[in-house]
């Protein structure tokens, strides 16, 4: 165990014992069980020797206790209880150590002694999760560390459950360092996998409530920052209220736009059926011709328009025209290729520009005739596919 490196502790520290116990248990899982204990045991100081002897009695766990004792000595901890309590706690630790289910049992015993109870809880807590950072807390005497086990499965950690349960047991000890030991027996109950371990930073309150609150606040602020990037014009706004206002305005404006567009689409739709049939028959879809050409960003207007004007392009994409016709029919047509063109990148470039539409119509009319002249046979679908493929390549 790492904390055994610490020196000059007094055995009386229940917390150290428990901490070491916890760390030890963790350590055990990963490494050899007894080797370290032996090492620790040997390193124990003289004052704790008698304690160690007493702890040696129990079988294997005795070694563990010895280690715990040694560690307790090694680490200076502000312990409320004299060494005697430490022994008791150690004994309870011993018991708990040997069999995890027994962890729950020792808890009632140390109940009268807050530290003992905390120790029992600590050990029980330690037993379960693998994520606990045992080594850390042992070394950090001054650090006010607190562990909240929260599930880490999904982004939303369910912190509320565990902190509350923690807080229930926690009142006994005074804040700071003791709070760590006020780990709860609830830990034992918190078998759920969805627990995130939270660590209080230095100088921060380790109260379970405040910790949970801090986590919640951090979540919210993280999401607010993300939203700041999403919503335009929020860079200068700080504070939740202002940001919320901006977000609300933005969402409302977007929804209004959608409504407006749906109205427009509804107006266009009646013509959709007719136009679809007509266009399909004539195998002409002039506007589609521009798609490949319009390699512009969403702010296309004039540039695409210019490209639009060239009738040659229309002719060259005559094949495409027919291809593009069927797409917006939404009917059962063999020609699936056309749809692809509609979905082409240029699709997004067809941003609304009323002027564009007007001129477009003129152009379309012109080109329409041209394309008509070169109307393709009905079995064009295959040919269209080819043309489409060609276009795709070009794109």
């Amino acid at each position: 165990m790492l904390h055994c490196a610490n020196t000059s502790g007094n055995l009386a520290g229940d917390m150290t014992v428990w901490e070491r116990q916890r760390a030890r248990m963790k350590w055990q899982e990963e490494q050899g069980y007894f080797s370290a204990f032996d090492a620790l045991f040997s390193s124990s100081s003289s004052s704790s020797l008698h304690l160690q002897d007493s702890f040696l009695h129990p079988s294997d766990s005795g070694c563990a206790l010895g280690e715990v004792v040694a560690q307790a000595q090694a680490q200076p901890r502000s312990m409320n209880k004299p060494s005697v309590h430490g022994f008791d706690a150690s004994s309870s630790i011993l018991r708990t150590f040997s069999c995890p289910p027994a962890l729950v049992e020792p808890e009632p015993e140390p109940e009268p002694r807050p530290t003992g109870s905390s120790i029992g809880k600590e050990s029980s807590k330690k037993r379960k999760p693998e994520k606990l950072h045992n080594a850390k807390f042992v070394t950090e005497n001054d650090m006010k560390d607190k562990r909240i086990k929260v599930g880490a499965d999904d982004e939303q950690s369910k912190i509320t459950g565990s902190p509350k349960s923690h807080s229930n047991k926690r009142e006994t000890c005074a804040d700071t360092s003791n709070s760590k030991q006020n780990s709860k027996a609830s830990e034992v109950q918190n078998q759920k996998p969805d627990y995130i371990h939270v660590r209080a930073r230095r100088g921060q309150a380790t109260d379970s409530h405040s910790l949970a609150e801090r986590v919640r606040r951090e979540k919210i602020s993280e999401r607010m920052k993300y939203l700041q990037d999403l919503v335009p014009g929020c860079n200068k706004i700080t504070g939740k209220a202002g940001m919320l206002d901006e977000i609300i305005n933005y969402v409302q404006s977007l929804q209004r736009q959608v409504e407006f567009l749906s109205m427009k689409l509804a107006a266009v739709n009646p013509r959709l059926d007719l136009s679809i049939d007509d266009l399909f028959e004539k195998e002409v879809f002039p506007c589609a011709a521009n798609f490949p050409n319009i390699g512009m960003s969403s702010d296309l207007t004039n540039s695409g328009y210019v490209q639009f004007n060239s009738p040659q392009q229309m002719v060259s994409y005559g094949g495409l025209d027919t291809v593009i016709n069927p797409p917006y029919m939404g009917l059962k047509r063999n020609v699936s290729v056309p749809e692809t063109y509609l979905h082409s990148s240029s699709f997004t470039q067809l941003l609304p520009s009323s002027t564009w539409e007007g001129d477009f119509q003129n152009l379309c009319n012109l080109d329409f005739d041209q394309v008509r002249a070169t109307s393709f046979p009905s079995h064009l679908s295959s040919g269209l596919v080819e043309a489409g493929n060609h276009l795709k390549m070009e794109m």
């Binding site: 982004e155 999401r223 509804a266 007719l274």
Partner: protein, 190 residues
């Protein structure tokens, strides 16, 4: 290019001639759909087109505008694959609507356009800035479908996904509108 996979997906979707809840596009993200991607917009556009055609075929049950808007929202929610609360709420609203008749229809018709209602009601109240963040949170929860009573972190998370989806919807509908209007105008003129 994007077209090839899109072709396949659109082919299948068109052949089926019904609302596809599943995406056949391999390009799609397994996680939350990226609303900014072209592929997403294309998928959405194709589905929207089908839905619009269906709306046309059905005739105008309600004023066409609302039907179109509901169809657009539905398609958007379907494109979201139901991973978010708002998408699931939209889809379940539609389901409820189908099972009930006119009375419910009228109510449900307004649900997708909850924002309208919310806006009105908010103005009747003290406005969103009336008092505290909580009021704004509730208001935003009303705006985002399915988040009415959710706490702030949930609402924020839903908004994080909902806003790009709305933006994509606006882009797609714009493009579709231009496409259709141009096509229809040319056809009508010809």
């Amino acid at each position: 290019m994007i077209r090839n996979p899109t072709t396949a997906s659109t082919e299948r979707s068109r052949d089926a001639k019904r609302r596809k809840k599943k995406k056949t596009q391999e390009r799609e993200d397994e996680k939350q759909p990226k609303w900014k991607s072209q592929a997403q917009q294309q998928i959405y556009s194709s589905k929207l087109r089908q839905a619009l055609a269906r709306v046309n075929n059905l005739g105008s049950a309600s004023p066409k505008g609302k039907a179109v808007r509901q169809a657009a929202d539905r398609v958007l929610a379907a494109t979201a694959k139901g991973r978010t609360r708002w998408s699931r709420a939209i889809l379940t609203n539609r389901l409820k609507l189908k099972f009930t008749k006119h009375k419910r229809q009228r109510v449900a018709a307004t649900l997708p356009s909850r924002s309208k209602r919310a806006r009105v009601s908010v103005h009747r109240l003290k406005g969103k800035g009336g008092a505290g963040v909580q009021r704004k949170v509730r208001f935003l929860g009303r705006l985002v479908p399915g988040c009415r009573k959710e706490p702030l972190p949930v609402v924020l998370e839903e908004a994080i996904d909902y806003i790009p989806a709305l933006e994509m919807q606006v882009r797609a509908m714009n493009a579709l509108f231009n496409l259709l209007s141009a096509a229809s105008s040319s056809s009508s003129s010809s």
